[in-house]
Each structure stands twice: as structure tokens, then as C-alpha cells.
């Protein structure tokens, strides 16, 4: 009976698959090929501001003629112009350092949450998620008032007498790191908490009974068990931080080079769409490895 119903709804099943599949193909995958194509184009004073513009009216000969106008110049300039090379390297450096910082800050919090009394845990998880629901932009904005020269942090330090004149934090890389750690912290806490919460505490008791010091027990037992959470958290923060725009733009200074900022400026300020596309293509190539690793990690946890 159920099998019969299944047969009857066969076409319906495929329709169900087809709708989200087609949507993502059209709005997610195909646009990437568009970016790729545009990255080989040249800038033009026209609307849209690039050439060649492919048109079905051209016919095949026209298509081939336009194909020959495509150029590698944009990509090459990314590798030869030190400004771009620097921006890529600096993005990767900032993303790597922030990921480690986030892990260091998030681990004790997640660990403490997982060891909290059972009846508190869901409350604590909700409290981690709550700031994540409030606007990213607003949370970054909040730090401007805190880190500025006349900001609350400097005021506090002056009042304490630790410093006798304001230190510049805003518009430096320090502010960028603080903003990134703050904004991406929940993404690391939650996967860590999920693995630590499932951990069997009797393992640690057994280790202690056998005379293993707590620090060694942590590295030999707790940390390896939490590794899937560490991996998931690191990917979840590293990949988006590499392309981050809002935080370096609002908290960083002109010296803060990040590729998301470069892309934004090439696109909106210089109106160089082909170059912006080339920046995006190369960024994507850099991120393909971590993205694929992230997906495999997701699939592995799905299979469990």
C-alpha cells in the first residue's frame, strides 16, 4: 500500500527535488561562472562597465570574435601588483591568527558550559545564540564606541591610571582582531560545546584514579574527543573571516589590508568590475580547499 502510494507520488517526489535544486543552480552555481567569465573581460566606459558583452544576436562568428577579446590581464595583475598580493596574504594571516584566538577564547567557555549543571545548559546555549541573532553590523558598531580614542576602554584605563594618555586601538589591526573574535565566537563555542557535552566524564575520573595529572588528562582525553568540534568550528570561522568586509572597514584603518575590502573598493569606488571579479575568482580558488574539507566534515557528521 505504502509502496503504491510512493509510485503514484513519483513525479511529485522529483518535483520536490527539482525546485530547490534548480533554485540553487540558477542563483548560486551559475552566477559563479558569470564571475569567472567577467574576470577575463576588460573594463569599459559603458553600461554594464565591461566588454565584451556576449549576445545571442552575434551568431557563432561574433561569439568567437568576442571570445578572443578575453584576457588574463586581470588575473596577472593580481599576482604582479604587490598591493593585491599583500591583501591576500594579510587576509589569510588575519584569518589564521583570529581562528586560533577564537579557539583559545571559546574553548574554556564551551568546556565550562558542558560541565555546568544539566538544568542550566539549555539556558546557557540560548545565551550564546542570543547575541548571534542580534545584528552583526550593530555588534561591530558597538565596538567603535568602546575602542575609540575617547572611547570607554581608554577612559577606563586612564581612570585606573594604567596609561596616562589614550592609546590608539581603533583603526589598527588590534581592533580588527577584537571585532572578529567577538563576532565569530558563537560559531566556535557551539560546535565545541556539542562535542564536549557528549563526552563521558568517567574517562577523566578513571585517568585521575590512575594518577594522570589533570593537564595531561586534558591533552590525552578531552582534547582528542573534542577534535571534531574544533575542526568544524575552525572551518566555520576561518573561511568567512578571510573574505570579511564589515569588520576591517569599520574597525580597521587604511593600513588594514583585507581582500574583502579590496574587492569592495574595486567594485564600488573604482567601478572596475572585471578586476573585482578576478579578485573574487582567486579568493574562491584559495578557499576551495577549506570549503571542500568543511563539506567533507559536515558529511561525516551527517553520516553519524
Amino acid at each position: 500500500m505504502a509502496a503504491e502510494a510512493k509510485d503514484r507520488s513519483g513525479w511529485l517526489r522529483w518535483l520536490l527535488v527539482a525546485i530547490p535544486f534548480a533554485w540553487l543552480l540558477i542563483f548560486f552555481l551559475i552566477p559563479f561562472f558569470n564571475v569567472l567569465k567577467l574576470s577575463f573581460s576588460t573594463r569599459a566606459r559603458a553600461l554594464p562597465p565591461y566588454k565584451p558583452v556576449f549576445d545571442f544576436a552575434d551568431g557563432i562568428a561574433g561569439f568567437i570574435a568576442k571570445l578572443q577579446q578575453l584576457t588574463l590581464a586581470n588575473h596577472l595583475s593580481l599576482f604582479t601588483d604587490p598591493r593585491y598580493v599583500e591583501a591576500y596574504l594579510s587576509s589569510l594571516k588575519i584569518a589564521a591568527i583570529s581562528t586560533i584566538l577564537i579557539l583559545i577564547v571559546a574553548y574554556p567557555i564551551a568546556y565550562g558550559m558542558a560541565r555546568a549543571p544539566r538544568e542550566w545548559r539549555s539556558m546557557l546555549v540560548m545565551m550564546v545564540i542570543l547575541p548571534f541573532w542580534t545584528s552583526f553590523l550593530i555588534r561591530v558598531y558597538a565596538w567603535i564606541g568602546i575602542l575609540g580614542n575617547e572611547g570607554l576602554l581608554n577612559g577606563f584605563l586612564l581612570w585606573l591610571g594604567v596609561i596616562d594618555q589614550p592609546i590608539t586601538i581603533l583603526t589598527t589591526d588590534w581592533a580588527v582582531y577584537i571585532g572578529i573574535v567577538y563576532s565569530y565566537l558563537p560559531f566556535m563555542i557551539l560546535p565545541l560545546y556539542a562535542t564536549l557535552e557528549k563526552m563521558d566524564e568517567t574517562l577523566l575520573e578513571a585517568a585521575a584514579d590512575l594518577g594522570c595529572p589533570p593537564i595531561q588528562a586534558f591533552w590525552k582525553i578531552t582534547f582528542p574527543i573534542s577534535l571534531p568540534g574544533v575542526v568544524a568550528g575552525c572551518f566555520l570561522v576561518f573561511i568567512p573571516i578571510t573574505g570579511e568586509f564589515v569588520i576591517p572597514e569599520l574597525l580597521g584603518g587604511s593600513g588594514t589590508k583585507m581582500i574583502g575590502k579590496t574587492l569592495w573598493y574595486e567594485f564600488f569606488n573604482n567601478r572596475n568590475w572585471p578586476l573585482a571579479s578576478a579578485v573574487a575568482v582567486v579568493l574562491l580558488l584559495i578557499l576551495v580547499v577549506p570549503i571542500v574539507l568543511f563539506q567533507n566534515a559536515q558529511k561525516a557528521s551527517e553520516a553519524k
Binding site: F28, P31, V35, M113, R115, I138, L185, P240, Q295
Partner: protein, 272 residues
């Protein structure tokens, strides 16, 4: 040793939450500051809220953003739920790994890339950019988040109820609406809320895909912040934070009550 460890745990959680909440609390407090300087306390005042109410451009942006978020979150919830069902229920099919790749990749894709690629799509098919293009862009991004949330619920879902309904002759379509949907509803609602807040929040993708006449609230806030910090931004931020906090807390209380009722019903059924 036990005691020392739990002291460490309590401190780290307390410090962690202080770090997470202090900036937000400070932001809210300073929205009631009478002084124009964001960092100098000039007494309690609601003048920035009054000023906000008279700022027509800001109100327009808020209205556009709200409509956009409602519409895109609803579309994303429908598409994302379909995608989740496809992923969990349909086993292996041609292009499945491509499909799951397209679900997971947008979650971590930098916004600048997603925004640029969608803009180029809209330019190449030559449609007028504005409210609708941003709606399509947000739907695409947020449906993936909905899919992941709903999927995690479907994985632990007990299928025997569905099978029972099908065996008793309930058509699959009806089974979905009568059995499946009510059971996964908390996840669907959570997905909708996530999609809604993501859309409310997005600056980068909206900036790329928008056109004249469709300036969203984050875009408006961003351009004002670039000129300097004003307490008016604190006021609108406070309003947004309040709305989101009430929504999230209400939803979690609702889910908790449902869970308690379900457990009660289960106990009764066991006794009966």
C-alpha cells in the same frame, strides 16, 4: 581537584558571557544618553528615539528591510524545508553531492563573493535591480541555513508515525501536512527566524544587489556610521535588539512548553 575545576569553569563561563554581552549592554545604555557624544554621559534622555521617529529616510529604510525580511524568510523557509526533505529522505540520487555542496557552501562563502556573483547574474539577465533582486538574493542565501536547521531535526525524526499514516491509506501529501510538518514545526519556525534575522542583518549582499529606491536599514546604518558614531544609531540598534530578543525568548519558551506537554502526554499514554 573537583572544586578547583568547577571554579575555573564558572569563571570562564562568566567572563565569556561578560565579553559577549558587555558591548551590547553599553550600546543600549548609551542610546538613552542626552549628550551628542557617544562616550560622555550627559544624563538620561529619550531624545534620540524622538529624533529617530522624525527621521523619514531611516523609517523608510526600516520598512523596506522589514518587508524584505518577511518575504525572503518565508520563501527561504519553503525552499529550505523542501531541500532538507530532499537531503534526508531521498537517499542517493543523481547530483546529490552537488546538491549538498550547494547547501553547505553558501553557509561559509564570503558575502562579497555571493553578492558580486548575484549582481552579475542580475546584470546579465538585465532585470531592474531593487527590492526584488535583494529578495531573491536573500532567499538564496538563507534557504541554505533553513535547510541545515530543518535537516538536523529530520535526521532524528521517528518515521514510524508517517509509515503508519501511509499504511492506513493517508495520501502522502496529506501525511506531510498532518504528521510530518507538525513534528518538524519547531525546526521550521527556528529556520524562519534565522532566515528573517539574517536578512534583517545583511549589508554586503544587499549593497551589491540593490538598486535605486531600495536602501535597506543596514545600508543606511553603515553609511551613517562611516560619517561618525551618532546616538541615533544606538537608538535604532536598541529597538532592533529588543525585537530580536523578545522573538527568540518567546520562541524558546513556546518550544519548551510544547516539549513539556509532549512529555506529559507520553506519560499519560504509558499509564493508560
Amino acid at each position: 581537584m573537583r572544586k578547583g575545576q568547577s571554579w575555573f569553569n564558572t569563571t570562564s563561563v562568566a567572563l565569556g558571557f561578560a565579553f559577549l554581552y558587555a558591548p551590547i549592554v553599553i550600546l543600549v545604555i548609551y542610546s538613552f544618553n542626552d549628550s551628542k557624544l557617544v562616550t560622555v554621559w550627559g544624563g538620561f534622555s529619550t531624545r534620540w528615539y524622538v529624533e529617530l521617529l522624525n527621521d523619514q529616510a531611516m523609517l523608510d529604510a526600516a520598512w523596506i528591510t522589514l518587508r524584505l525580511a518577511l518575504l525572503s524568510a518565508t520563501m527561504a523557509t519553503i525552499l529550505g524545508t523542501l531541500a532538507a526533505i530532499t537531503m534526508v529522505r531521498f537517499g542517493r540520487f543523481l547530483g546529490r553531492s552537488l546538491f549538498s555542496g550547494m547547501i553547505y557552501a553558501p553557509l561559509v562563502m564570503p558575502d562579497v563573493i555571493t553578492g558580486l556573483s548575484l549582481l552579475l547574474l542580475f546584470v546579465s539577465i538585465d532585470i531592474d535591480r531593487g527590492f526584488w533582486t535583494v529578495t531573491l538574493a536573500h532567499t538564496t542565501l538563507t534557504m541554505c541555513f533553513v535547510a541545515v536547521v530543518v535537516q538536523s531535526r529530520l535526521v532524528v525524526f521517528d518515521r514510524s508515525l508517517e509509515e503508519a499514516a501511509l499504511d492506513l491509506g493517508c495520501p502522502p501529501f496529506k501525511t506531510f501536512f498532518v504528521i510530518t510538518l507538525p513534528l518538524i514545526l519547531p525546526a521550521v519556525v527556528a529556520g524562519w527566524m534565522l532566515a528573517f534575522t539574517l536578512s534583517l542583518d545583511d549589508l554586503v549582499i544587499a549593497s551589491f544587489t540593490t538598486g535605486p529606491g531600495a536602501t535597506t536599514l543596514p545600508m543606511k546604518i553603515f553609511s551613517q556610521v562611516k560619517f561618525g558614531v551618532t546616538p541615533e544609531i544606538n537608538a535604532i540598534s536598541t529597538i532592533l535588539i529588543t525585537i530580536v530578543a523578545i522573538g527568540v525568548i518567546a520562541a524558546s519558551l513556546f518550544n519548551k512548553r510544547r516539549e513539556v506537554e509532549r512529555q506529559k502526554a507520553e506519560r499519560l499514554a504509558m499509564q493508560g
